[in-house]
């Protein structure tokens, strides 16, 4: 069964295509990471930097899950399962962060 699959020409051709995708992707990920590191030292307004950083991280994040982790080739259910976890975590903890506020007492006594 494995041998049949491994030598199936369509399957092999697909794997070779994906192999080239991986190399391209790895180079882009490295480049984006480099861009992020350069960006934080540039004299650009804070909201612009934050947006750019968030965007770049999101691109890297989705690039890895869609291509390295195969989600773009797989059943859509897996994508939505992961999205549920991620969105819930993001939403819940954004709420938690908003629920805590800086207090003059806190910063007076603690660093």
């Amino acid at each position: 069964m494995s041998e049949a699959v491994a030598h199936d020409p369509d399957f092999l051709a697909e794997e070779v295509r994906r192999y080239h995708h991986f190399i391209t992707l790895a180079l882009w990920l490295a480049a984006i990471t480099g861009a992020e590191i350069v960006l934080i030292f540039l004299p650009v307004p804070m909201p612009v930097i934050l947006t750019a950083l968030s965007l770049m991280s999101a691109i890297k994040f989705f690039a890895v899950i869609l291509w390295f982790m195969h989600l773009i080739y797989d059943h859509k259910l897996l994508f939505w399962i992961f999205m549920c976890g991620m969105v819930l975590a993001f939403a819940t903890y954004a709420a938690v962060l908003a629920l805590f506020s800086v207090d003059r007492i806190d910063t007076k006594w603690f660093s």
Partner: protein, 681 residues
């Protein structure tokens, strides 16, 4: 191929030739008796073991409750000390939730889900066994703390030096089932040994590691069930043809996998505070104790829906059966269950209305909490719609299911009263809250689970519990529970606070506390009677037909007790409630051409899930020993980790194995037989 097992199909597993796994060790497929139960991966046997442990721990939690009620029966009582009282209510809550309700629900998930979806087992049978044994380890760790406490009270530890160094030396957890920081945490500076001063003793450490282990067990089981329900449905069993109980299992499992990580991290942070001098909740260093509350309730609120949704699923199976009508509004009941689960993540701070969140968060959480009442109400109306116009048979399961609807509604009303934050400011930490959650947990969940026990016992053991005793026990439970918790609504509004070991005379609380204690004893007796009856039935009860209730779902089409392979032939599902339709309607239950002489694939049994669970037991005792200051206790933990790792590694290496089991050769025998045997109902 090493994964496959190409043996000739056998009629009984005892006929198998001894087989070695990929590790070279014999697979325990040919065991019987105790070894069979210890190595089983059969979801039905695992379900029975979950149920047995759950019933045992219900009784343990019940004794703790009766001790509490005895103490509170009279003002200024000294039946127990204040410390023991704190330990009692902590262990009562923790035991009932984690060792009573959750495993009993797990018992039903395990036994029923594969049967209801037309499968032969769950997706990962050994992982299922691992969940059970890890749960047992956690249960032993948690209750092991009591053993240490009793030994301490008896003076056994008085001569040990490390014992004297322990803060307040309380061995059983005493901080409430939610163990709030900073009481459970640390204060001040950590010393050279990385220990910061702690308010509480080793009991808290037992609680931390016990809950952590139980969490791992629940998580493993839930991953398994989601995979099973999504991936192993019989042909034609679309998601919208699933029984509602299976749907609720799916939603509950999704809640578990998304909610438990929050408590896992919270417990890690608390453990680091206590063991390694971290400052997550240490006020002296700037830690925010209210963070513990947030993290706990981000887990804790979905947890209560985890507790109630299975019981709702059970009721949704029982009502149609005993009214002879299909469930009213199936799609909307399923959708409501999902919405309740989803919204359950959005309301956690309603447990924190009195912590000073601010007006906007308070209003937001208040509104969202009120919103959850809507899908719950929708379910209740749909249940009423199911009953309306049906020919009701008041069997014990039906009486309990009707009791669920009514009592859960009462609990819901007091819950909605809590959702109004200004009112909650008065109710918080009073007996009104205790009344609310006991109405939903006892009146709701317990009645629902008991209904499930009476409903499915005939299927599990092929024997029918005595109806007379069942009605008596049901009556005692419902009467006792209302007598115990009804007055608590008044007591709470009259000002009696929670978690206080006694009260003075003259507040007007004496009479109703006394009444509540009487009610609690009646309730306890009723539950005990029901359990004793059920256990007796399992061994010596009257044998009954395989479909005594004229059931609607697939499990009733099988013989009782259910054979190892579940279905002689895999069913093909043409519609919802296809078995009922097969008996009384147009559609027929068809079968695939598998099984028979060619056999069906059965998973092999294994020792390694048990071994991995045993590793957790060692860790569970090692960690509190570290907290006690027992020398070299850290090595015990490391040894436990090693045992756990070995269990998992060997489990991976032994390969799935499996053997082929022959099934009876008459393809329609099961359904035809069941139809013939349907009782006179």
């Amino acid at each position: 191929m090493s994964h496959d097992s190409h043996h000739a199909p056998v009629a009984d597993k005892m006929e198998l030739a001894p087989e070695r796994s990929d590790l070279g060790l014999f697979r325990p497929d040919r065991t019987r008796g105790l070894f069979d139960w210890l190595t089983t991966v059969d979801h039905k046997k695992l379900g029975i073991m979950y149920g047995a442990f759950a019933m045992l721990f219900f009784l343990v939690g019940g004794v703790e409750a009766l001790a509490i009620r005895t103490q509170l029966a009279r003002p200024d009582n000294d039946f127990v000390t204040a410390r023991m009282y704190n330990q009692l209510f902590t262990m009562h809550g923790t035991t009932m939730i984690f060792l009573g309700v959750m495993p009993l629900s797990a018992a039903f998930f395990n036994f029923l889900v594969p049967l209801q979806i037309g499968a032969r087992d769950v997706a990962f049978p050994r992982l299922n066994a691992f969940s059970l044994w890890t749960f047992v380890a956690g249960a032993m760790v948690l209750n092991g703390s009591w053993l240490f406490e009793f030994a301490h009270l008896a003076g056994w530890f008085d001569n040990f030096a490390w014992h004297k160094a322990l803060v307040y030396t309380d061995f059983a957890p005493a901080n409430g089932w939610f163990s709030y920081a900073p009481l459970s945490g640390t204060f001040g500076q950590a010393n050279a040994a990385l220990q910061a001063p702690r308010f509480t003793g080793v009991g808290t450490d037992f609680w931390i590691i016990g809950i952590q282990i139980l969490g791992i067990a629940s998580l493993a089981a839930s991953f398994n069930f989601i995979c099973t329900i999504v991936n192993m449905r019989a042909k034609g069993m679309t998601m919208m043809r699933l029984p509602v109980f299976t749907w609720m299992t799916l939603v509950t499992s999704i809640l578990i996998i998304l909610a438990f990580p929050a408590i896992t991290v919270a417990l890690i942070e608390l453990m680091f505070d206590r063991q390694f001098g971290a400052n997550f909740f240490n006020p002296s260093a700037g830690g925010q104790p209210v963070l513990w509350q947030h993290l706990f309730w981000i887990f804790g609120h979905p947890e209560v829906y985890i507790l109630v949704l299975p019981a709702m699923g059970i009721v949704s199976e029982i009502l149609p059966t005993f009214t002879g009508k299909a469930l009213f509004g199936y799609p909307i009941i399923v959708f409501s269950g999902a919405v309740i689960g989803f919204l359950g993540f959005a309301v956690w701070s309603h447990h924190m209305f009195t912590t000073g969140l601010g007006p906007i968060p308070t209003a937001a959480f208040s509104l969202l909490t009120m919103a959850i009442a809507v899908p719950t109400g929708v379910k209740i109306f749909n249940w009423l719609g199911t009953i309306w116009g049906g020919r009701i048979r008041f069997t014990p399961p039906m009486v309990l299911a009707l009791g669920f609807i009514w009592m859960f509604m009462c609990g819901g009303f007091s819950g909605v009263m809590h959702s109004a934050a200004p009112a909650d400011a008065q109710q918080q930490d009073s007996y009104f809250v205790i009344a609310h959650f006991h109405y939903v947990l006892l009146g709701g969940v317990l009645l629902g689970l008991m209904a499930g026990l009476y409903f499915w016992f005939p299927k599990i053991f092929g024997r029918m519990p005595n109806a007379g005793i069942a009605y008596l026990a049901t009556g005692m439970v419902i009467l006792g529970f209302n007598l115990a918790f009804g007055p608590m609504h008044y007591l709470g509004l009259a000002g009696q606070p929670r978690r206080t070991h006694t009260y003075h005379a003259g507040n007007g609380w004496e009479t109703w506390n006394y009444v509540a204690t009487i009610g609690a004893f009646i309730l306890g007796l009723g539950v005990f009677l029901a359990f004793v009856n059920l256990v007796y039935t399992a061994f010596k009860g009257v044998k009954c037909a395989s479909d005594p209730w004229n059931g609607r779902t697939l499990e009733w089409s099988l013989p009782s007790p259910v054979p190892e392979y579940n279905f002689a032939r895999s069913p093909i599902i043409a519609t919802r409630d296809v078995f009922f339709e097969h008996k009384h309607g147009v559609h027929r239950l068809a079968y695939e051409n598998d099984g028979g002489e060619a056999g069906v694939h059965m998973p092999s049994q294994s020792w390694f899930p048990l071994l991995a669970g045993f590793g957790f037991l060692i860790i569970g005792f090692g960690m509190p020993m570290m907290a006690m200051g027992v020398p070299h206790a850290g090595w015990v933990v490391i040894a436990g980790l090693g045992v756990m790792f070995m269990g998992i590694w060997l489990w991976a290496l032994e390969g799935p194995g499996g053997y082929m089991l022959k099934t009876p050769s008459d393809p329609h025998g099961a359904a035809a037989q069941a139809k013939a045997e349907s009782s006179a109902y």
